[in-house]
Symmetry: C2
Subunit: 493 residues, 2 copies
């Protein structure tokens, strides 16, 4: 994971204008109404883990940092906005001289995250904090979705390497590029997306398509030609005509007659169609009997965590997987529903006034106030036992027992004596200046490994995982109750 060179060259796009138009109409309105400079607090959070999973893997912070540190409206942008005939010159001037001055906190990439806890918090003038809404959501939603899906797929593979193969079916170029990044964060060992290695230093790899085989006069000739070029990296695709009657016999023939006599060992065969369990078992047996127990079997046909679990349970003999469209689009649930909500506003005296968004749907009621999150770990098992969201000025004294409670069934209480805590969010921007350096992808992968190992196996389950508790501190819970009562309006029927 070494090659990260022309990262900046590849990212020279200015995405400042990748913004929902209403953020501009509101911005113009905030400025006119002088609400624009009110210091506001917004949280980005999600409400539900996709695929009924137990947790998500945070991803996308590096790209969020790049975006926030390069906000810049060009003359062309200003001209375009002027042509809409709805923005004041005052607002256009403001954009022309735009300077990002917000504080931003985020949970570092690679950490398991849970519903209803802030993944990103922005504090700053309303006009600015509002403006960054779309890109915060777009960046974190996308990569967290794919990292989470990849983590599921890799768990299903039970330690076998999983390669990301999906560029061709991704939703747009960045779907492929940042999707590959997120997939590797989630656990994939490599990607087929070449540009992703240049950009992120994640290993790119690949061998041959069926067309390689078809372009030669025979399958045998095509394998032989491959061996001539890649004797020390010989993985042959064996399902172009018929795996057991043609592909595998031809492969073994080339191993026997060409590769081994030259002093090389073959690496593997790949199967891209057909009955995986049957074919891999047969191929394993034939390879073993032919003296190739070390030759690996790679499988790659419309896979996801469900199919991988199935074929492994059936006894398929597979060494590694290539996973395409169902990973790169998170096909089973392709939307990560992160939202970005106002949680507090400072009044003229600088007091932080918490805000709540009420809803008839209880799940959609937001957690108000400027907050932070503690992850609580059991000292003996070294497992995460709960997250606790507190007001930003609350401290946990780990020398004393900690009691937490279910925010709905408040009589459900747990008390920890032997525990340690970690604050989940880190400050990434201070008054608009970047104050955090994103780790690289291989460092982020380490975080994923370490932190998912600290989750109880019950939380890691695919089906019916244990609910991981995200509770509110007593102070925050009381504040929320007070706000709900304040905001509740008794309407005459």
């Amino acid at each position: 994971m070494e090659y990260i060179k022309n990262f900046n060259v590849r990212n020279q796009r200015n995405l400042t204008m990748l913004v929902d138009f209403y953020e501009l109409t509101m911005g113009n309105g905030y400025l006119e109404s002088s609400v624009g400079n009110k210091i506001s607090y917004f949280d980005m959070f999600f409400r539900r883990v996709p695929d009924h999973g137990g947790y998500c893997i945070m991803a996308g912070v590096q790209q969020l940092i790049e975006y926030l540190s390069s906000l810049k409206f060009t003359e062309d942008d200003i001209d375009y906005l002027r042509s809409k005939n709805i923005f004041s010159e005052k607002f256009l001037d403001y954009l022309k001289n735009f300077e990002f001055t917000c504080d931003v906190w985020a949970i570092p990439e690679g950490n398991p995250v849970f519903p209803n806890e802030p993944l990103v918090t922005v504090k700053g003038p309303a006009i600015q904090a509002q403006f960054v809404e779309t890109m915060i959501l777009l960046t974190i939603n996308h990569q967290t979705l794919i990292a989470t899906k990849a983590n599921r797929i890799c768990r299903a593979a039970e330690g076998r390497p999983v390669m990301e193969f999906g560029s061709r079916r991704a939703q747009g170029y960045d779907g492929a590029i940042y999707g590959a990044r997120a997939a590797v964060i989630g656990g994939c060992s490599a990607t087929a997306c070449t540009i992703a290695e240049e950009m992120f230093g994640i290993p790119a790899a690949g061998t041959m398509a069926h067309s390689w085989i078809q372009l030669f006069d025979s399958e045998y000739e095509s394998f032989k030609a491959w061996v001539d070029v890649y004797p020390d990296n010989c993985i042959l695709l064996v399902d172009t005509y018929n795996v057991l009657k043609s592909g595998l016999p031809n492969a073994i023939k080339v191993f026997d007659e060409v590769l081994v006599p030259r002093g090389y060992r073959p690496k593997g065969i790949r199967i891209d169609s057909g009955d995986i369990t049957y074919l891999t078992q047969k191929c394993r047996e034939i390879l073993d009997n032919a003296g190739y127990p070390d030759v690996e079997i790679i499988v790659s046909n419309s896979l996801d965590e469900y199919i991988i679990s199935d074929v492994l349970a059936q006894g398929a003999t597979i060494n590694s997987f290539g996973v395409g469209e169902r990973l790169i689009t998170a096909k089973s649930e392709p939307v990560f529903g992160g939202v970005y909500k106002l949680v507090a506003v400072e009044d003229d005296e600088g007091n932080i006034v918490p805000k709540i968004k009420i809803s008839e749907n209880e799940e959609k009621i937001t957690n108000p106030a400027f907050k932070k999150i503690y992850r609580i770990y059991d000292n003996i098992a070294n497992k995460a036992v709960a997250d606790l969201i507190t007001l930003n000025d609350e401290e946990i004294d780990v020398s004393k027992p900690l009691e937490i409670f279910d925010p709905v069934y408040t009589w459900k209480r747990r008390r920890f004596k032997n525990y340690y805590v970690k604050q989940l969010m880190v400050k990434i921007f201070d008054k608009g200046k970047q104050v955090y350096e994103s780790p690289n992808v291989s460092e982020i992968k380490k975080i994923v490994k370490e932190e998912t190992e600290k989750l109880w196996p019950e939380v890691l389950r695919f089906e019916n995982p244990h609910h991981y508790y995200v509770d509110l501190s007593e102070k925050l819970w009381n504040l929320k109750q007070d706000l709900l009562h304040d905001y509740s309006i008794v309407y005459e029927d």
Copy 2:
């Protein structure tokens, strides 16, 4: 649809390296084995219409043209590839001096397209035709997916405008940007994605979020502030607290007390949550009774074609829709399964030798040979009645009757006397030079409108649409049968 200015500025990324790594390993191998210069023919096609629909809307050709006309490996790319230690210096030199020399044909954007017909055909040296696989698939798969989904959603809206709102939940930045383009091609009237207007001249629009309302001391104050800034574009979001008890009464109060006295008419209200049918009917009644029958009702909460059809069938009174995540990700079926397959190779004498990819799954058997597609229209009804794939050198003489037949049940035959035909594919590159200028989005929208109007209503259905016939000419059918017999291998059991 006028504003297209800094298109090139926005697209300065070099996406040459957005390629599956195996296209490079194969390329290196082709060059070593001298298969690389064999003139090859590849077709891009798909096998199934998503969501069980009757047709897809072709999209993405403009971006494909941009990619193909700007292929360029940088020094950094070459250095990176050299660092992999598997490519020959000969191959790296080839890339350094890479010149695209292929012929490319494509079906122009906006046309309805059907399974198993080529959407794109590439003819050129194997090494080149193979190299462009990923980007052809990625570009056409993504935009065709979204244009097709948008077309479904707009059909469900039965003429009411549909706005694309999904950037924040898109899969990556291009998912949002090119997704917005494809959505407007498919039928959306506008997008919330601002940068898409700058790039493609598609109208961007938007009003306010709930946070606008929450930032003021009261809902009424927030509406009043909006009216002060946007008196002639007053669309108010009425569901922050309670649509019928708070939002709508406050909106009408502001209309009555502020907007109308100043000589303006309000434009609309937007509802983003709750029971759509009930709320829109009630709001319509209240607005009508308050003297605002011209004020429109806009709805925008997790919509797709199914929900839109439902609420309209229930009698919801809606003037327009905002559609987000379920459109921008094609949530119900987020993968467009386009494939790219070798269909012919020229031999040393320049004869085109057709190639077929066989499969135990009959649907996966490819249509061999260098081909073209005729769309056949009934002269009297002016409706498309079938597509006919022929060998590239076949001509249809419309002065004579045309008989076509089902490629499986060959006794099912149809004979046309009074018909006209259109060749679907156009040449977009000739020996690597662009020879086709892509129409702009509003011109493409016209194609969508005209060409979908030429489909029978039975093909436009959501559920159980009539199968639109894509048949093979007799010559092509015979050729395919011959190849299947040639390639069939009788294995001893």
